[in-house]
Amino acid sequence: MKLLEVKALCKNFGGLKAIKDLTFHLNGGEILGLIGPNGAGKSTVLNLITNTLKPDSGFILFDGQDIRNVPRHRIVELGIARTFQALTVFNNLSVVDNLLIGHASRKKAFSLRKMIPSFSRVGERKGMVPEGLIELIKLVGIDKEQAHVKLTTLPVIDQRRVAIATSLASQPRALLLDEPLAGVNHYESGKLLDLFRRVRDMGTTILLIDHNLEAVFSVTDRVLVLDFGELIAEGTPEEILGNKLVSDVYLGE
């Protein structure tokens, strides 16, 4: 089943053709890797899907629905969550509060409730945390004793975990991860990869962008290779590893 479909997508920045006629799809339940050298347009693809950037032409269909003009916050409600390349969290909020921001956009949330501001206390103490958020904190590997501490007091690796948990808190059907392993050591990235597998097994489809090819190949079902905004290869990790064009792009002739 094609969960997300991108068709003939083009995006120019002035004279620079950032994305050229890109077509790919994301199957429900898979982990799809997106690799390519710096400047290949990987993050631009995520920005186009989440309507942070408007495409010049082409289609983006999520579950059969055209989402090109859907406001960014609505896209989260539809079930697409993302993380950012640069570590982005709400520094002055606690772990639970960060998750609560995402949690409000989960599909089951009653829509009228979101229109009328909710003034009841939430997430302040143990008993006030909505069901599932503590499990989510534990799932990403943070001690639940730290659920109520401010993010500034946590180590960067835990802040990264909170960023992933925040996107998962909206209970997305598709999770777009933009270089989640950048600057993470070998041991920690192994744990994050385990986390991605578990998230996938729990029913969330993942699009993973990263420069750590070994890690990408170890976790993905399929891999796309982007170079100068063009899709130059597509296939299983084994196929991509054997692809002459890909090694040329990455290693030079």
Binding site: R72, H73, F90, G102, P117, R121, G123
Partner: protein, 317 residues
């Protein structure tokens, strides 16, 4: 220990408010009532500027909307204080939402400049639309609120009544805003302050929240304005200048942006300062400006920030 110190601070403030009219001179009670009204407006501004991070330089204009609205309703239509105050404050909120629809498309300094212009525009309306606002003469002989006391029947507010009434509203606002900060709505406002674009990409309906926050802030400004008008029984355009807006900004910056007790402490300090700086006339704006600069440079977080650092308290909530 920390929460004990926090409780002591609030107890002291409440004790001060409760005992002040009993032991204080009448002119001090009068001044403290005005301070209470300023606290209401400053706390409203703090919701917008402190929690959501949008600095408004035109808040006095919204105060003016509440003041003129209530004054006109009671003078022209002969309304009592209670309905005219409620209608004027609500109308201010609605107008705030409508204006917010446009002005909140701006962010950062551009938003502040927008509100500055809005403040100037509304001020010139108050000053020049003589037929409705009374022009530079303003409006006078506004009705005093009436109160039903068992045993005494319906009696008009005296100074003491005003004092306790205004501080009751302050108390309710403290409780209400404390709840708001801990609620989903409050957290989303803080998320917008922290990183608006990120808040949007994790699913916060940023536009809607911003307008709701702006309307809430305008409502409280309008409420304070209506109290101000009926307490002084007369209003003029010079109470709602951009200079007055800057005083509200000064209050919340001195007190501590985005804290509960900040606007209260800031108002007390500014009122005390203004007593001593009366002789300087318009020059006192220079002093305010210097205070803002000093606080921004050396006293991060205002008085609340300093108290947090010295006593290791968390006064955000």
């Amino acid at each position: 220990m920390r929460s004990v110190a926090k409780k002591i601070l609030w107890m002291c403030l409440m004790l001060f408010v409760l005992l002040m009219p009993i032991y204080g001179r009448e002119d001090m009670v009068h001044l403290m009532t005005i301070t209470g009204i300023w606290i209401i407006i400053a706390m409203g501004l703090n919701v917008l500027t402190g929690y959501m991070g949008y600095v408004s330089f035109g808040h006095a204009a919204f105060t003016g909307l509440g003041a003129y609205g209530s004054a006109i309703l009671s003078l022209r239509l002969g309304m009592d204080f209670w309905p005219s105050m409620a209608i004027a404050a609500s109308a201010t909120a609605v107008l705030g939402a409508l204006l917010g629809f446009g002005i909140l498309r701006l962010t950062g300094a551009y938003f502040s400049i927008g509100t500055l212009l809005l403040g100037e525009i509304l001020y010139s309306v108050y000053y020049n639309w003589s037929g409705v606002t009374g022009g530079y003469m303003g409006l006078t002989s506004l009705p005093t609120p009436e109160l039903f006391l068992p045993g005494q029947g319906i009696i008009p507010f005296t100074l003491i009544h005003w004092f306790y009434f205004v501080h009751l509203v302050v108390f309710l606002m403290v409780v209400g805003i404390r709840e708001m900060v801990s609620s989903q709505f409050g957290k989303e406002l803080i998320a917008i302050r922290e990183n608006e674009s990120f808040a949007e990409s994790v699913g916060v309906n940023v536009k809607r929240r911003k307008i709701q926050c702006f309307a809430l802030s305008a409502f409280l400004a309008g409420l304070g304005g209506a109290f101000f008008a009926h307490f002084l029984e007369s209003i003029g355009p010079d109470s709602f200048t951009v200079g007055r807006s800057l005083e509200f900004i000064t209050i919340i910056i001195i007190g501590g942006l985005g804290s509960l007790v900040g606007p209260i402490l800031g108002s007390y300090i500014l009122i005390l300062l203004s007593l001593y700086l009366e002789v300087l006339g318009a020059w006192r704006m220079v002093v305010y400006g210097m205070i803002i600069i000093v606080v921004l440079f050396f006293g991060r977080g205002g008085i609340v920030g300093m108290m947090e650092r010295i006593f290791k308290l968390d006064l955000r909530k």
